[in-house]
Symmetry: D2
Subunit: 305 residues, 4 copies
């Protein structure tokens, strides 16, 4: 039987030299103050066993990892109707570019670029006056902790520099692909991005996607098995910005990353893995976190390929 505890310790030792090489996200003032030289990792097996190493109990800003939550929630509520408003293809350009969005008439390439996540938020805002609260409740449910919260200082910090997201939202509004006000959608988006979790919590939060759409402990089916499988496919092809191909090549697991330095990865049918290290590589993904996952799949022989 695989000794995950030992493997995590090995990885922890291996990543140490990398912790000084990444750069923390600079465009959100609050995030730019985080110390890059931190690393945590946690594994949540579907049988309930959990393993962790390093700063796995330290809260961090989920940022784009929450795009997975808003997508899963919108998909569970609206089903395939969401695909009339967002595509399922890799973008081939930066996560916040407007070029492709203009060429493709305001329909984002996928739900994991900013434009696509704003559309998910818009869909949720059309169902509820407080889409941010709905997403927070969902986040609490899937990681089984009622004390998960927004970090309002981060939300405010992001809101103050959200000019590009405003540009994206207005462009989609111009094309008719945003039904609520730009302000409403951006507000909710900045708040959901600010949700904080620890690695241990995040691994647990991802477990329903490793478990064919059903939360392991409550047995509530969030998504049917087919939909869950499809979300995994989307994570693999589009979950790590414009480095999804490289990530799939190196790691070989469905994953979603955030500029806070977190990455959630899945071994379908077996486990969810969360890793956090705030130093980013040039593609905006956690440098040490990506390497840690690459080592994990090598040491456990757990790629999907």
């Amino acid at each position: 039987m695989t000794d995950y505890a030992a493997i995590l310790e090995t990885i922890y030792a291996d990543v140490q030299p990398l912790l000084v090489q990444g750069k923390v996200a600079s465009y959100i003032p609050q995030l730019s103050e985080v110390d890059a030289a931190q690393f945590g990792m946690a594994v949540y097996c579907l049988d309930g066993r959990t393993y962790s190493v390093g700063a796995a109990g330290q809260k961090f800003s989920l940022q784009s990892v929450t795009k997975l939550f808003s997508l899963a929630l919108a998909f569970s509520l609206e089903g395939d109707a969401i695909w009339s408003r967002v595509g399922r293809e890799p973008s081939g350009s930066a996560f916040n570019s407007l070029v492709q969005l203009e060429y493709e008439q305001g329909k984002p390439r996928n739900p994991f670029i900013n434009a696509g996540a704003l559309v998910m938020t818009d869909i949720l805002s059309s169902r509820s006056t407080a889409s941010d609260t709905a997403i927070l409740q969902f986040a609490r449910e899937i990681c089984d902790r009622q004390d998960i919260e927004f970090d309002l200082a981060v939300a405010q910090s992001e809101h103050g520099t959200a000019h590009r997201n405003y540009a994206i939202a207005h462009l989609m509004k111009d094309f008719g692909n945003l039904h609520n006000s730009v302000e409403t959608v951006i507000d909710s988006y900045c708040r959901q991005c600010s949700i904080t979790m620890t690695c241990t919590e995040l691994a647990k939060a991802g477990s329903f996607l490793a478990n064919h759409g059903t939360i392991p402990w409550s047995e509530r089916q969030v998504l049917d098995a087919s939909s869950s499988k499809r979300l995994n496919a989307l994570m693999l092809t589009c979950g790590t910005y414009d480095a999804a191909g490289e990530f799939a090549y190196r790691v070989g697991l469905p994953a979603k990353s955030g500029v806070g330095g977190g990455i959630l990865a899945l071994v379908p049918g077996e486990m969810a893995i969360a890793v956090w290290s705030p130093g980013l590589d040039e593609t905006g993904n956690s440098l040490a976190g990506t390497y840690a996952l690459e080592r994990f799949t090598s040491l456990t022989v757990r790629s999907i390929f």
Copy 2:
């Protein structure tokens, strides 16, 4: 135990209404004359069992499926050095577009768009005066048949309308990313694209990639397990033109398609599947073939996700 024979029969019945909906590739004169309403499918299990249905014994033009052969051969010979000349990211645009190639200074996004495949051919041409023969020999080895051949009429037909590939090759030459003459590379490329196989042969040809890089019957290791896994990841993220995300979403298997209507898909560790139906959807992938694979993963519960 899964009854693959019955499953293939079910799929064969299911695809019948779709056979009239696709359109055969029109830009290569020879291919445009093929009857769209044909369908064949074959499964090659790593234990040697094989299953097939329909026109699985009918030869067809592999076209872009051969990009997998030239990549595997170049990768096996040159190792990671090939990645200095071609990327590993989805392209986000058509398989024969020049836009991204110009922005990215002549380095193709991945080895499965035409530009990337031309670079693989160029690499092989630098090793051998007859790169087309080298690829043909490789194709013969991996499907264990010495009678695999080019279809020279198709090669010539394609060569005569290869203006866009010439444009791509010259643009890369301008950027210094083509070391042999444009004529040499295009010649070899058109010939390799013209290789014909049956579904039964193609499924067998893909089996080494399902088998961690080793040819099952000869036990020759073409690629090590890690490299084979990585090729699978590339197939999933980039193997079906600008519909890779959609294909992963629907089918959930690594695959490589061609405009001849063939698709090779892999269930890592278990089997290779080949399907052929010449009617294409608007993304250039076999319409009935994609649906057949989607049905296959549903009926066998064999997605990687």
Copy 3:
């Protein structure tokens, strides 16, 4: 001596069949209600003689023609400093596209596309809390009428559908090329666009640019001769959206058009010409208006070329 009155009558007769062919701008609700089948034209010679025909006394919405006013005012106040924030090249794409703006890091190609005009407004807003009033005062001075006004219903109508301009402004804000708030700049921009004039007034308003930068009747030098000449050059290369080349080819005069159907054209050293017909061609320029100017240069042999 050229009989301008007779020439205008000839043109008036010639354009009648065209009046039903153009389409009024549809994206601003208030403008979409205007009757397309109207035509007016006025000539203001630098010696004070004026000629007019048709609906030359009818007020219309100047829209993008006012980009010329904000540019001239900003240029007169700030001099060459404005060119650090806006370019002088034709854009090669639509007047409200974001693609080039993103590639060129938030620096608009020229002051006559929306992005560039927003930068001019931003510059004026940095000098004055009411840049819209400053532009209105300037408009009043150059056409020598104190009763020139905003059309607030049009301004409000435009503001309500200004999503794309908001997107452009936020994108420039993101790149640091907007110093005031997006709201401030868009407000002022929508108001200045709503200024109404008659053809007679507009021709007079343009006369300082035909007169080497000096208002003929007051002899106030708005721009020195060299700067005036340079603005004329900008009008010729960039003044009629993505049809500037076609316009120069057909008409051969510096001109600025607006989606309200107005066009101001200049014969340097001789006269300013205003034409109005609300039916637009597919490039967003007045269909009958462009034709009228083409006829005018033919009949008077007054091209600059």
Copy 4:
């Protein structure tokens, strides 16, 4: 009366400090060997007077200046039919970019970018088996010298590095906008580009365009007045690569430049001016040459604006 001789002497003195600042074109081997610190200028007045200064009698490679000759010749032979195959708008991107050409389905933006010039050559090749000879004969006629020649060493040098032009030609061939073989068109194109003239000869060669389309000494009408006016407009909006707006702003005359360092400019109805200095600015136009023309229009007050 303007003392052109004195003005040219003044300019000659003024440009001296600039001669070391430009860089000679490096992509054509033969051109890269030219000494940058050279300068010549010549004026041909329509009454036959000529003025010159510096190295005005030195032959240089006309390169893209010859695009004017192929356009004028094709236009004189085919009339407006040429505009079905090439546009009249500035390109907004580099002279040899493929991006816009692909978006616009193989129709070049204007006849002065490489793609457009290749179409002109194609048109002439469809009329004559030796389009290069036809252009050479035309060049000889318009400058009244039978000893004008190709520089075959330059032509060959250019041909050997013409990969990007091959890419452009093949892309147009793919779109059906090239009727002769790529080889035929590129051959002719490289030869016409290699034509050499002195400033004195080039100024004379341009005089028919300053003279409303009629060669002054022979009174042969190459183009009617209207067509000649239109070519002037095209030169102004598109004649100096992606710096046409800047050039119009600074110089204010229709002009065509080449990477050999030559520029031909026109004062309609008065004169043609040729300037040569091989050091280029970053937009590919002669650095000292552009400045010399700017000084010329200032000193003679001869802008068209």
